[in-house]
Symmetry: C2
Subunit: 352 residues, 2 copies
Amino acid sequence: MNKIDGEVAAEASVVKLKDVALRAGCSVATASRVLNGHSTVGAMERERVLAAAAQLGYVPNNAARALRSQSTSLVGVIIPTLDHAIYAKMVSGLQERLARNGKAVIISTSDYDLERERIQARLLVGRGVEAIVLVGIEHHPETVDYLRRAGVTPVFTYTNELGSSDAAVGFDNRHAGASVARFLLDLGHKRFGMIAGITHGNDRATERRDGFLAELTGAGISRREIVVVESRYNIENGRAAMRSLMQTYPRLTTVFCGSDILAVGAIKYCHEAGIAVPGEVSVVGFDNLEIAELVTPELTTLDVPAREMGEATAEALLRLGDKKETAIVTELPTRLIVRGSTGPVSPSGRPA
Amino acid sequence: MNKIDGEVAAEASVVKLKDVALRAGCSVATASRVLNGHSTVGAMERERVLAAAAQLGYVPNNAARALRSQSTSLVGVIIPTLDHAIYAKMVSGLQERLARNGKAVIISTSDYDLERERIQARLLVGRGVEAIVLVGIEHHPETVDYLRRAGVTPVFTYTNELGSSDAAVGFDNRHAGASVARFLLDLGHKRFGMIAGITHGNDRATERRDGFLAELTGAGISRREIVVVESRYNIENGRAAMRSLMQTYPRLTTVFCGSDILAVGAIKYCHEAGIAVPGEVSVVGFDNLEIAELVTPELTTLDVPAREMGEATAEALLRLGDKKETAIVTELPTRLIVRGSTGPVSPSGRPA
DNA sequence: CTGTTAGCGCATTCAC
DNA sequence: GTGAATGCGCTAACAG
């Protein structure tokens, strides 16, 4: 049985441009021109093509389009892990903003391993991505070079330094770490601990720690009196790290954690061990995740606008695509959210 | 300057199969065969091709491969939102497992809107995905039909019903809801409230609620005595819903929430309002997110193995690709995790 | 076992 | 303005 022209046609298994042209009574070339917005097409002709495409439910074959035009409308993103809300939020913002401009995102994860990141980058290049969004400024020496040679735009997030990328969207981790130190100093703290993320291959963790330490030593605190441990980002590790810290250095009055995840674990340990927060020890987190407001006391933390970072990254990508700009740095504001987990130190040197 | 054979060659801007063949001294067909693991190639020849590919850093052009072979190694996934950890975890498991088999995932979000889901599905088809992972069994009437006609494998998650899909990976939401009811009945509760997710277009929320209600009415509780409100999944809404519930029906002894997100908000409200949990009201969540262990008291909740669901989905997809199976149902275990937010009701009808 | 040939669906050059 | 022809990089027939 033939389809009757004008009825809501049952779509063929795959509608191709040829089918649209056939129905519109023109050549595929014309149909292609219309669908791609090339102005040089008669108004009537254009109408018919558009109508035909709509009726047939035409969806362009991206593989063919990509092969022909060298443009895939695909963006790759490599994050350490999707399990961490801070990255999930960033990807969410990126994906939604990009989708509005017809671009799709392919996601992959490196588990904080720069070598894996490099492999993933190659794979994404094979997939034809036009740009790759990376986290941080520190990468395998070959990664960015490789992207460059492949004509893929590298973009860094979680940093405000362009480095070897075409765009950086983020904030100054070092400054953020320093601002936490400043806040704690102003509260009168003298004995500091830090539970940092694993700094190996992770510039964000490194910078946060170094900014924190620099501010403290600048204030006359001896580096040797500051205890720093590193821990993978999960609650259980945060708890364990806090235990080891407090058992070894019971006189610490405050502990800065490189992530809320760790801070929340730290607070859990304090509960168990009967250590008052902030009475005996003040705890500060980083990221301002939802969990920061769930613990008791609520967590003082540095707010990172993850979703906005994803959106801003998308916008940078879009602008880069217009070729009007060649290098973009978007610095996002961070700010300290003071809640109940921090307090002043009494003149005796113990928290009030 | 010419590249010298044998040195670690600087990769050309884009290395093609032809380049590999050239260097290996064979035809592109042979090179293709080697790279695709077709056994019928001589050992020496295969060696040389492999070596050439490695030295040049050859990465196949997926667009061309896709166009020619109708196989893209691309899987699409449409989830309500990446902001909800339960979906982020699922995607994480899916992505990692698929990556091990050379498949990539394109992600998109529907914001719980079945019409948006339908649009996203079409877009993903245009991208050439071989399968699409959907959440739940309820979809726009055209969505699955469309996928079928386009030759794209539809897979449902968060459900154990095959429906119109080729594979279902998940659990019985109705049964899960019922098991929560059973647990609360056994504790002696008589006055029940529920903060469900928005059930419109969301079979998971609907089933959880219906299973809960069915078990209760089956136990002789009148439907009219059970108070159900619906709320979007975020903490603030959970808090507001709990407020409205407790202010209007102060005699409720227990409230079941369709997600830990809501439950956590509910508990926050109880803290503010001075309502003892579980002394005055028992609260149960759903999902067993990390946040369940962060609130005080810790949350009794139904564990949903989200990451495993993603992994199992990937495996179902892989098996479907082998064409040995044609329909796969994988039911995952859920179990109630009893923590501190629930307790028995005293003979007086109030919680003990 | 290996090379030659012919498209996959589309965007674009070139004629008209 | 519009149509016919070309080829993007690769894989799958087909020969040899």
